[in-house]
């Protein structure tokens, strides 16, 4: 405890770094994935390609992606962008598939009646299908948020510091407490993000109580197809 107090500044500054490094991929991942997912839902060929591509991406160890990005996109090797871009890719891969699945899961009756009321294809997507997919998208984002926060720490191995620094440093000087502080910090960030997403869900999707309504949504919420890479 006294260690934590003595090093509070460092821990807080690493926590801030950690938050930044995870917020950007989470937000960016969502913004990019939704349109791509909508396209994937509409065109079968695209969907097949994207599903395969995201499958391959999941199999790429995050460390390898962090290390190799500079030589692929020409960033500096210590650039936090390497971590941000890699995690954004994971988030996009996961959310594209979730979005496509969620849109495909909207009740056909609802789509038919929206058509019948005269919504255009685009209007239907924005006003009907996406809102109805909200609970599933939210569930996907919760998994994205938690796994992104956890993966940021691997960046410490390539010199992009976050709470993961505490793991390496504690490891090198036989100091489990330091590592534990890092782990707890990471979990707290993840839980706060998760809580914020749940609150956003309550606010934006007041008609849906995802944890209480029918069985299908619950299944989707823990859908193991939603992978934490």
């Amino acid at each position: 405890m006294s260690w934590l107090l003595a090093n509070l500044d460092m821990v807080l500054s690493l926590t801030l770094d950690h938050i930044w490094l995870s917020v950007v991929p989470i937000v960016l991942g969502f913004l990019l994935a939704v349109p791509i997912g909508a396209i994937a839902n509409r065109y079968h060929l695209v969907r097949g390609t994207l599903v395969t591509a995201s499958g391959i991406l999941y199999a790429v160890p995050s460390l390898a992606l962090f290390v190799l990005l500079p030589s692929i996109i020409g960033t500096q090797i210590l650039d936090p962008l390497n971590v941000i871009i890699a995690l954004t890719l994971y988030a996009v891969a996961l959310m594209v598939r979730t979005t496509a699945d969620a849109l495909a899961d909207v009740e056909p009756d609802v789509i038919q009646s929206a058509k019948a009321m005269g919504y255009s294809t685009w209007g239907r997507l924005v006003r009907v299908e996406l809102p109805l997919s909200g609970p599933v998208l939210l569930a996907g984002m919760r998994v994205v948020a938690v796994s992104t926060v956890s993966l940021v720490s691997v960046g410490a191995l390539i010199g992009v510091n976050s709470l993961g620094y505490l793991f390496i440093d504690g490891f090198q000087r036989n100091f489990p407490l330091e590592i534990l502080v890092g782990i707890i910090g990471t979990v707290v960030i993840a839980l706060v993000f998760d809580g914020l997403l749940v609150l956003m869900g309550r606010f934006l999707l007041p008609w849906s109580r995802i944890t209480r309504t029918n069985g299908r949504l619950i299944v989707v919420q823990d859908d193991p197809v939603v992978i934490n890479p």
Partner: protein, 230 residues
């Protein structure tokens, strides 16, 4: 692009293909670790998951614990456990088992949860014992989601065992952690390619298994509902 050529050259270099540190030996190690991890994780997660699915109790707790496990950073777990448990395979194994539990657990209880309540109800009504309800109805009908969970766990475990190579363990992560400090990116990338290939092959095998073990009637059910939606 040079990296890729170097990596390919590294991959076909006979020196990297033989001996205890060669790609085949490391692949076998990696597979062994992965299998061991999954067996232990499944032995923990599946009974609990199916118990939750069968009784319908403890679901909230399971979701919370799974979420918490998911949030645990594997790198942190590996390092702290290595300090507490010492060298050897036990520390990374524990960390990876913790990583593999949430998807397996979710696959099991969500799999049972996805079975029509009326199907289970009628199985009980015609006189199945609780065990028969589980073995003859819930288990076979939960397989699609349960195997999805297994696939997800497998992909994560294969990819994440690489991080454990900061400890003196074998497996394909060796190439990455050995190549990283000396910037031998051909080795890092070569190792990563093998990891990816391994993951894809294993995933394909599991996808095939999934196709085989999904009860035929369930497939017919899906087709029927697809026709309805078309």
């Amino acid at each position: 692009m040079n990296n890729w050529l170097d990596a390919l050259a590294w991959l076909v270099d006979p020196e990297n293909l033989t001996g205890p540190g060669g790609v085949p030996a490391r692949t076998v190690e990696h597979l062994g670790y992965t299998l061991l991890t999954l067996v232990i994780a499944a032995a923990i997660a599946l009974p609990i998951g199916y118990l939750i699915g069968h009784t319908g109790r403890g679901r909230g707790l399971a979701v919370a614990v799974s979420g918490g496990f998911r949030a645990l950073p594997t790198l942190g777990l590996v390092t702290v456990l290595a300090l507490l448990m010492g060298l050897g395979i036990l520390a990374p194994l524990t960390a990876l088992v913790i990583l593999a539990i949430p998807p397996l657990l979710a696959g099991a209880y969500a799999g049972v949860g996805a079975v029509e309540r009326s199907t289970i109800d009628s199985a009980r009504a015609v006189g199945m014992t609780e065990w028969q309800v589980f073995a003859q109805v819930e288990l076979p009908l939960s397989l699609p989601l349960a195997i999805s969970g297994l696939r997800s766990a497998t992909l994560q475990v294969i990819a994440t065992w690489t991080v454990a190579a900061i400890l003196p363990v074998g497996g394909l992560g060796r190439f990455m952690l050995d190549g990283l400090p000396v910037r031998n990116y051909a080795e890092v990338l070569g190792g990563a390619i093998v990891v990816i290939l391994l993951a894809l092959v294993i995933d394909a095998v599991l996808a095939g298994t999934q196709r085989i073990v999904i009860p035929r009637g369930v497939k017919a059910l899906r087709l029927a509902s697809k026709r309805m939606h078309a």
